[in-house]
Every structure is written in structure tokens, then in C-alpha cells.
Amino acid sequence: MTVHSKLEKFEDNWRTSMGGWFPGERVVLRGKDVFKELNNSSWMEYLLFASTGKKSPQIARLMEGMWVICTSFPDPRIWNNRVSALAGTTRSTGALAAAASVAVTEATIYGLKPIKGATDFLYRADKRLAEGEALEQIIRAELKQYRSVYGYGRPLVTADERVEPMMNFARSIGCGEGKYIKLAFAVAEYLAASRFKYQINIAAVCAGLLADEELSPMDFYHMATLAFTAGAMPCFIDASNQQEGCFFPLRTARLNYTGGETVKHWRV
């Protein structure tokens, strides 16, 4: 008895509307000729169109401001950047450093999880508000279920120095007055007064601003994936240009072994 695999019809058959390269001829992205119809786009406009299908200089400009103001601090102590600095000090390559830093940016306490999570939370909260629930009730349920609200609270410090400059930039290009950014700050007001004392962080601000531009959590996630590279690359370059191996070296005494002093012997 011949049973056909579900995969047979896909063999040498990848159908797509996303785009492709016609060697020696043209390149197509989402139905647009890259050389003729997208050739005047900025990189950010191109990335926005590639990732979301949206053509919007306004959103691209907003996103670019976010990348500059919020995501690429050139400090090698920040964990994703530290990976690039370590790659520099060991004389690895820039691309390997960047790849590792991008991957590490998919973190819980900063980076991509809060970015996606904050957008998701604002959409869910708005839906429940529209269904008649009180904001307090929505936040309390989130805290009860997850013990945190993405976009609020921050490691190391409480206040987020990026909020004000980001909002100033957003207003300067005509953003910052939509219902989602207002909701983001309403949640902040509640949480600041609660026993948790969480303050709004930049993830909720960016989520609110981009939800007002009708970006989904996935849209924001896809766009933000590369956003941190401008912070990682200078850390790599700096460490590459200094003495090899000298980035925060650790002496053996920096290991705090807590497993007990007994020396064991392998049973052969």
C-alpha cells in the first residue's frame, strides 16, 4: 500500500507572494519591483514594508526614532552588548558578535519579550475595556496571573530615562495622542500608586505609540529584532581595538563556589 506523505506536493515547489530574486533581471518584494518602485525608500521604510506590508514614512520615522532613543545604548555592561564586547575581546568577528547579541536580545527582563508582551497587553486591555471591564480589574488580573505587566517596572533602576525624550520625539512628528499611548500611561498611573510601585518603561511607551499606528505585536516584534545592533557594534569595535582579553577579566577568586568544600573521587 502506498501512502503519500503530506510533504510530497511541496517538493521543489515553494509558492510565495512575499518576493524573490530573478537572477540578472529584477527583485520583487510584496509585489513591488525593488529597483523601480522601492528604490527611493529609506532603509527603515523598506524594512517596515518588508516586515509588515505597510508603506508609511510616518511609522518608519517613528520607528527610527525609537531605535535611536530607546534601543541601542553603547554600554558593554548591558547583557546583549556584553556579548559583542566579549566577542571583540576574544577577536571573534563582527557578524558573529552581532548575531549573538541579536539572539540574546530576545530576553525576558529587557528587549524583545517586553516589546512584544507590552503590545499584546495593551491590545488585550483595550479589548476588555471595550467589553466593560474596569482598568483596575484588568491590571489586577494580569498581575495575579503573571505576577508582572510587560512594559512596567525595570531592572537596576525604577524610572526610565527614555520615556520623556521618546514622547517628545513622537509629538514632534505628530504622534503620541492616540488611545493606546493614553492607555499605556493610564496603566502607569494605576501601577505607580499601587503597592508594586512599577513605573512605565519604554516598552509600554513604544507599544502604545505603535499600537496607535495599528502595528500588531508580531509587527513590532519583527521590526524590533534588529533594533539593538547599533548598541552592540560599538561595544564590539571598542573591545576589538583594546588589548585582547582585557574586557572585564575575572580572577579565580571571582568564582563564588557554593557547592561545599568536600573533594569527591570518581568511582571507577
Binding site: W14, T16, G19, A100, T252, R254, L255, G259, V263
Partner: protein, 263 residues
């Protein structure tokens, strides 16, 4: 050490003593209490040491044999596997060798046949144990994500191949071999109930499902299992990438006629 330095790395795995002439070089290294270069190096196998690193204790001969069998079964998924294809894609283009392994890790991390699938399968084991009814219920009504995560939701029962037809012979051979090596009951139970579980899942058992059962028998946590699965599959990715690097892109499929852009 300068007096003002107080930040340390807390660890239950590793202890070092310094060389007398250099505080930044170790004279001796102890892993979970065992002297690595005086004792482990001479007396332990690689698999034993791997077990020690994860579990912080020396394995029994049965645990060692089970992990050894799993490591051999997973070491090379073969050049048709997605993670190995990723590594070969790095190889044919002349990319760095590290990028080939990064590619294999990134692709081999996923929900389909990858380490995230093993993670989820371990969660199923934790939740269902050896209750067939519990497995049926969980497969029928899988856990829903309450809020969005960077991981996409599972699209099939973890540990099973949604594109499979019947359980492939190597999967059955691995399961049968590992049942004979270990002491735990999860592999045996999986072997006894495989066809019922496949019926619930609507598709056959996969290597990820066998790996999860083996690692459940070895009492690994889901996150430990996820990491180990990634590690154990890298040798195949490495050698196939190197092989294709030598052969070059002209001898590797480009799917020149398989790509169709919708109008």
C-alpha cells in the same frame, strides 16, 4: 583582588584555585567537587562528564548507558534535517564555521523537531506522567498561551511528527534500544503505549518524543533537556557543513526551478 570588588559569580558547578604566579589562571578546577584534570580526565567518559555537568552527580552505569545511547542516536540527524540544512547553507556560501553552528542551533531550536519541542514534550511528561487518559486530554486540549510570547504556539502534539505517515524505523529502533539501557519507566511506558499516543496525536512518534522520554527517565528538567538536545545534535551539523563547504555551492541544491512567485 582590589578590595572594592564585591561582585562575584555564584556557582554550584565550578570551583578554581589560582596559580601561585597568576590570579587569573586556574591551577586546579573542581566540577561539582571532582578534580577535573586530576580525576575526571583520567577516569570519566565524556558522557559521564556531560551528565555530571547537568546533574551535579556521577551517573550510575545505567544512566550513563542511556545518555550514551541518546547521544549516539541524536549526533547526526542527517543532511535532510532542517538544522543540518541550515549549517550546510552556511558551509556552501563559505560562511564562518561558527555561523554554521549558530545556524544549526537557531533552526534546531524550534517547535518542529527542535529543542523547543523537547521542552514542551518534557512539560507534557511532567503533567501527564504515565496516565494515558491525561495524555489524551492534554493532546486534545493543549495549553493555550495566555499572553504573547516570542515562541509561537505549538501546531502539533510535542514529540510527534505532524508530517509523518508511520513511525520511522530509526525512531522505533532508538526507542527499543534505550528501553533496554535505562532503568526509568517513561521510555518503557512510551514503548508500550506508542500506538495509542500516536492515535491521540494523529501522527507518529518523532525523535524529539523519544529524547524527551529518555531525558525524563534521567530526571532532567525541561530547560536542561532543551539545552542538551541542542548540544547533542551539533556534530552532524558540523561535519555536513564542512563537507558541503569543500564541495561548494554549485553542487548543492538551489531549488532553481522550485521557486514560484505568485503573480
Amino acid at each position: 583582588m582590589p578590595e572594592e570588588i564585591t561582585e562575584t559569580i555564584k556557582t554550584k558547578i565550578w570551583r578554581e584555585t589560582p596559580e601561585s604566579d597568576n590570579s587569573f589562571a586556574a591551577a586546579s578546577c573542581f566540577c561539582c567537587g571532582y578534580d577535573v584534570y586530576r580525576d575526571i580526565l583520567k577516569n570519566a567518559s565524556y558522557i559521564d562528564y556531560l551528565y555530571l555537568l547537568f546533574k551535579r552527580q556521577q551517573p550510575t552505569p545505567e544512566q550513563s548507558a542511556l545518555l550514551e545511547g541518546l547521544a549516539v542516536a541524536l549526533a547526526n540527524p542527517g543532511p535532510r534535517d532542517h538544522s543540518v540544512r541550515a549549517a550546510m547553507s552556511a558551509g556552501v556560501g563559505g560562511s564562518t564555521h561558527a555561523s554554521a553552528l549558530i545556524a544549526a542551533l537557531s533552526v534546531g531550536a524550534g517547535n518542529l523537531g527542535g529543542s523547543r519541542e523537547v521542552f514542551h514534550a518534557m512539560e507534557y511528561w511532567q503533567q501527564c506522567g504515565t496516565s494515558l487518559e491525561a495524555w489524551q486530554q492534554l493532546i486534545r486540549e493543549p495549553p493555550q498561551l495566555g499572553r504573547e510570547d516570542v515562541w509561537l504556539p505549538m501546531e502539533h502534539a510535542p514529540g510527534f511528527d505532524p508530517n509523518g505517515v508511520s513511525c520511522p524505523t530509526p525512531v522505533k529502533q532508538t526507542l527499543a534500544h534505550l528501553v533496554g539501557e535505562g532503568e526509568g519507566l517513561h521510555l518503557q511506558w512510551l514503548n508500550d503505549n506508542r500506538t495509542a499516543l500516536e492515535e491521540f496525536a494523529g501522527c507518529p512518534l518523532a525523535f524529539s518524543g523519544v529524547a524527551a522520554a529518555a531525558l525524563q527517565d534521567l530526571e532532567f528538567l525541561p530547560e536542561q533537556a532543551e539545552m542538551l538536545f541542542l548540544l547533542l545534535r551539533l556534530p552532524g551539523a558540523a561535519v555536513h557543513s564542512l563537507e558541503q563547504e569543500r564541495l561548494g555551492w554549485r553542487k548543492y541544491p538551489f531549488f532553481a526551478n522550485g521557486f514560484k512567485l505568485n503573480p
